[in-house]
Point group: C2
């Protein structure tokens, strides 16, 4: 199993606090020693930091923890390898350009006997995760010639995720830089922080942050993670098959995929 | 004008020395204050570090200078903005997946009135450079259904670069992680280092490195840059229209595009 981290916010927000918690699970408080990666959207641009080494020992991870990159959408992942060697090409998140947007994806789980049809997008590495991402983009691309409205796109995303979930475990985060789509097969939780902000205590490290000092009263920040990252806050657990679409920190749409 | 940096080597090689020289030109010994980026291939994977801020002041650039990433192919760039705002989406190098490979591209120059036909790959940002990269990939993709041999691919690359050069200045580096293709419109130079290795003195910083201590006798490392980076070595200047294809540090093919 891997761990996912996502963020959606209505103002560029520093995710160092949550990232610090997640990184501890990469070889220290958790078994995910086989690499990590995080993608930060900055406007239309996407900045990716990745390392096939354990996050708790990675110099690049230390940089990210020191360096307060502010972003409205973030997708992070730490990996415990199942399919595919430990190497950069197998490290999440994965990125492809679609309609002049950077689409970014990370997955937690395993798919059995996944043999997607060939399409325009091809995996670079060997993971079932990247193969699923490419298949999902190929489906989107073959369904729409032009960028659709999100209401048109959602059924295609949900149908694809439902298919992948039939093959195993499929918890996933996907973004085009505007919205953040999350799909839960077995394990995902979220918290939405807004005024009045309070202090938060990381579960995995001796770190506490007072969000009131870091935010303005209008900030809305949603953090999504495989398991709650803080000990003193109330996280909401996704149910199996549940999907949520976030934009600007707010829930824009939600539902539950039909059981297989 | 921007500055380019490329490397092709027959063993994973640390490019920190050349990168350190280039970074000084980003706001200190040169005027290229509008961002920088560098892509390192690690096997099939590609690691990109980028910053829209001046490289001489960038914390990410400092990390890259401290962190001896070894790679067989590297493409770097520092930017002086002409077309497109200073933002991450306009920062080179640009990357797209083609046939399951990461293709990476950086460009120095400007193209006038460049309006490429629409195709599969779309620019994310506003630069003529990224538009040319997408157009080049669209041409390659529409010419070949399957990955061609390099001998089949080269005429397509050269024809595209010749067309771009007709519109302005087009010095460029392109790689799929195996080969490094370089095209000179106005300014490009290379040096191939092999045994017996000697010391090298950077032009732009008080840094000297003894390559003999850093290499084995079989290493072959070619560095390509807009202008020579060292003061005490003999660099070879490309002529206008000249292209060279590097693989494993060695020149694999070279020629000169027909004059327009």
């Amino acid at each position: 199993m891997c761990e996912l981290l996502g963020m959606s916010a209505n103002v560029p927000t520093d995710i160092v606090f949550s990232f610090t918690g997640l990184m501890q699970r990469g070889g220290r408080t958790g078994p995910h020693r086989d690499g990590w990666g995080i993608g930060f959207y900055e406007g239309r641009g996407l900045r990716i930091f990745q390392d096939p080494r354990a996050s708790s020992e990675s110099e690049v991870a230390q940089l990210v923890q020191r360096y307060p990159i502010k972003s409205e959408v973030v997708i992070g992942h730490i990996r415990q390898a199942n399919v595919g060697q430990v190497e950069l090409a197998n490290t999440h998140p994965f990125v492809r350009e679609l309609w002049g947007q950077n689409w970014c994806f990370a997955h937690n789980g395993q798919l059995a006997g996944f043999t997607p049809a060939a399409g325009f997008y091809h995996p670079v590495g060997d993971t079932d995760s990247e193969a699923a991402f490419c298949d999902l983009l190929n489906r989107v691309r073959s369904t729409f010639r032009e960028p659709p409205l999100i209401g048109q796109l959602l059924p295609v995303l949900i149908a694809a995720c439902t298919d992948y979930r039939r093959l195993g475990v499929f918890n996933a985060l996907l973004s085009n830089g505007e919205w953040l789509f999350s799909f839960c097969s077995t394990k995902l939780a979220h918290i939405t922080r807004r005024a009045p902000f309070g202090p938060a205590q990381l579960k995995d490290a001796e770190v506490c942050v007072d969000f009131q000092a870091e935010t303005t009263p209008n900030d809305v920040v949603t953090v999504i993670a495989t398991e709650p990252l803080t000990a003193n806050e109330q996280w909401t657990t996704y149910t199996s098959g549940e999907w949520k679409l976030w934009r600007g920190g707010e829930l824009q749409a939600a539902g539950r995929a039909l059981d297989c």
